[in-house]
């Protein structure tokens, strides 16, 4: 891993790299909004607020609506991920699957380096991969497995209350995990994973934006990152 220090004797020049293509950015934001909606509606399904009402049950359906929103969003969440998987085969080099699974020596070195930078804060500045750094990629890979776990448990539970063939594909999950109650508990606990993931993810994006100054945050809106030209960098 090359350690880079900006040579301040001459003006810094940047060049732009188009890292996140529009389908990736769209995936990211659809994913974000669906997880938010799923987490909020899911929390209410698990722990509904009791609205004191003088109207008859026949006149209201708010809990049914919350569940409806949860189920619809779940479908959006799943098929959005399917599009992302497809894009992993046809997209640019920053979104390919080899970014997510550390197989090379270089990736493991980078993971160590990022840990030094993020946790121990001992590296001043280092050049990491332009797209996901190796550690982030690896965490997203684990996150994807947890996505799958949420989808399997969620649709497993849903399969009992629908004739949909898609949910029916997951009907085996419930007996395999020992009944609805266990599946439901796991499905519920996973919500807290997303919450913690979101806090750390947003913070680290901001942190890297701050200490690396490559436009990490804005890249998820515009797709561009900004890198210093090599000639201005001394080792």
């Amino acid at each position: 891993m090359e350690k880079t220090i900006v040579n301040h004797s001459q003006p810094t020049e940047y060049y732009e790299v188009y890292v996140w293509e529009w389908p990736v950015r769209l995936f990211h934001w659809v994913n974000f909004f669906s997880i938010m909606i799923l987490a909020v509606t899911g929390y209410f399904i698990g722990n509904p607020i009791s609205i004191a009402s003088i109207s008859e049950a026949s006149a209201q359906y708010w809990f049914g609506k919350i569940r409806f929103v949860h189920f619809v969003t779940a479908y959006i969440f799943v098929f959005n991920s399917v599009i992302r998987i497809y894009w992993g085969f046809v997209g640019n080099k920053y979104v390919r699957f080899n970014n997510f699974i550390p197989t090379s020596r270089k990736q493991w070195d980078e993971i160590l380096d990022v840990l030094k930078m993020d946790v121990l804060q001992i590296r001043e500045k280092a050049t990491h991969s332009v797209g996901h750094n190796a550690l982030a990629g690896f965490i997203y890979a684990i996150g994807f497995v947890i996505f799958l776990f949420s989808v399997f448990t969620g649709f497993g539970l849903y399969s009992a209350m629908t004739d949909s063939w898609f949910a029916g594909l997951f009907a085996w999950v419930v007996p395999a995990m020992g009944g609805d109650h266990a599946v439901r508990l796991w499905h519920h606990m996973l919500m807290w994973f997303y919450l913690v993931f979101m806090i750390v993810h947003v913070y680290l994006a901001a942190y890297h934006d701050y200490v690396e100054a490559t436009g990490t945050i804005s890249s998820m809106f515009g797709g561009w990152k900004f890198l210093r030209k090599k000639k201005q960098i001394t080792r």
Partner: protein
């Protein structure tokens, strides 16, 4: 045991019933087994030609509530099944014989009707310490189950004990109580869970086996689909309150009096597969939710460990009493936020020099470039 086995029709005629009575009985059990009316012909044919099936009914680690439930079946009337249509050759609770006579009856049936008898088991089987925690006539339950299952035509596990272990298998399970299907690998065991199962469900299952000579269609957990394919929640008469978001908050509040949904006081209806909401109990009089108590999910595996019964999320073991996933999640979430805040502060302290340098440089560059622009004009 009669020497020449009679068919069910022959036996009914001998008792003075008419053929019309016989047909009425056939249509009765067709409905009870959850079979469509078009299957009536098959039932009639089967009962005309088939001998009364011998039944061995074992009791192991259990409270006999399944038998208690069964003998209260009203549709079809239990005496019709037990005393007339099946030949109940061995059952500790109801048989007149005792000791050697009882054991002899058991072995005679297993010999004489090899591959013909129906084996039903009430109760779990202990497996720890060689299974010594439940023995009958000097033999362990494990031993008896394995021997009887060898040549049984059909194996039925009555109740939650035999189907999933129930309270005997609850943590810490000191006797190693094990459901029947786990000690009989490779055999199809029909599970009829519930603590106890509904009498009409038990009767329906028995008459299905009786009429069709095979077990009914089973689901992923080997439960008969006719009775266990829907959740208690799906047939609950309080379901409209659930969808409307009208919940009981505590057992003594106004909402409880109004009969709102019991979801928030721990009702397991949404995660429990059973027919309580349709068939109900005690000749269709009521069932727990109708009586104002949440379902405790007694027909689901591990229901005893999924407690407390009056809260929706199970306690997470190892974190102390009354610790749910949400409490742990909140603590982890707050911890993460605190960690992130500490990290942000640390970043600004440790990287202060670097950041200052960049700020200075950019200020310098900005001045230089604007100076150039001015110079160029």
């Amino acid at each position: 045991m009669s020497e020449k086995p009679q068919t069910i029709l022959e036996q009914m005629l001998a008792q003075g019933y008419t053929r019309r009575d016989f047909l009425r009985f056939c249509s009765y059990i067709t409905a009870a087994a959850g079979v469509h009316a078009s299957g009536l012909n098959k039932v009639v044919k089967a009962l005309e030609t088939k001998i009364r099936p011998p039944v061995l009914w074992f009791h192991f680690q259990e409270c006999t509530c399944c038998s208690e439930s069964f003998i209260r079946s009203n549709h079809p009337v239990i005496t019709d099944i037990v005393l007339d249509k099946i030949s109940l050759d061995y059952t500790q609770t109801l048989q007149a014989a005792a000791g050697d006579q009882a054991e002899e009856a058991l072995h005679n049936t297993m010999e004489k009707y090899k591959g013909e008898y129906i084996m039903t088991v009430e109760g779990a089987v202990p497996t720890r310490d060689g299974g010594v925690y439940c023995t009958i006539a000097g033999r362990t339950a494990l031993d008896i189950v394995k021997e009887a299952a060898e040549n049984a035509k059909t194996i039925i596990a009555w109740g939650s004990c035999a189907s999933n272990g129930c309270i005997q298998a609850a943590n810490p399970n000191p006797t190693g109580a094990t459901p029947i299907y786990k000690v009989l690998p490779g055999k199809t065991v029909m599970n009829v869970p519930g603590c106890p199962p509904i009498a009409e469900v038990m009767a329906g299952v028995i008459v299905h086996v009786l009429a069709f000579d095979r077990i009914p269609q089973l689901d992923g957990l080997n439960r008969p689909r006719a009775f266990y394919s829907k959740r208690v929640h799906d047939s609950c008469y309080r379901r409209p309150f659930y969808d409307a978001g009208l919940f009981v908050n505590s057992f003594d509040d106004e909402n409880a009096r109004k009969g709102y949904c019991l979801y928030k006081v721990g009702c397991r209806g949404p995660v429990t597969y059973n027919s309580c909401g349709i068939i109900r109990w005690n000749n269709g009089v009521s069932y727990p939710i109708q009586s104002g108590h949440p379902c405790i999910g007694c027909s689901e595996a591990n229901f005893w460990d999924n407690g407390p019964f009056y809260q929706h999320l199970a306690n997470i073991p190892g974190f102390g009493i009354e610790t749910t996933a949400d409490k742990i999640g909140t603590i982890v979430g707050i911890g993460t936020l605190a960690g992130v805040a500490a990290h942000a502060i640390s970043t600004n302290i440790r990287k202060r020099r670097l950041i200052q340098e960049v700020i200075d440089t950019s200020a310098k560059e900005e001045k230089e470039s604007s100076g150039k622009q001015e110079g160029g004009e």
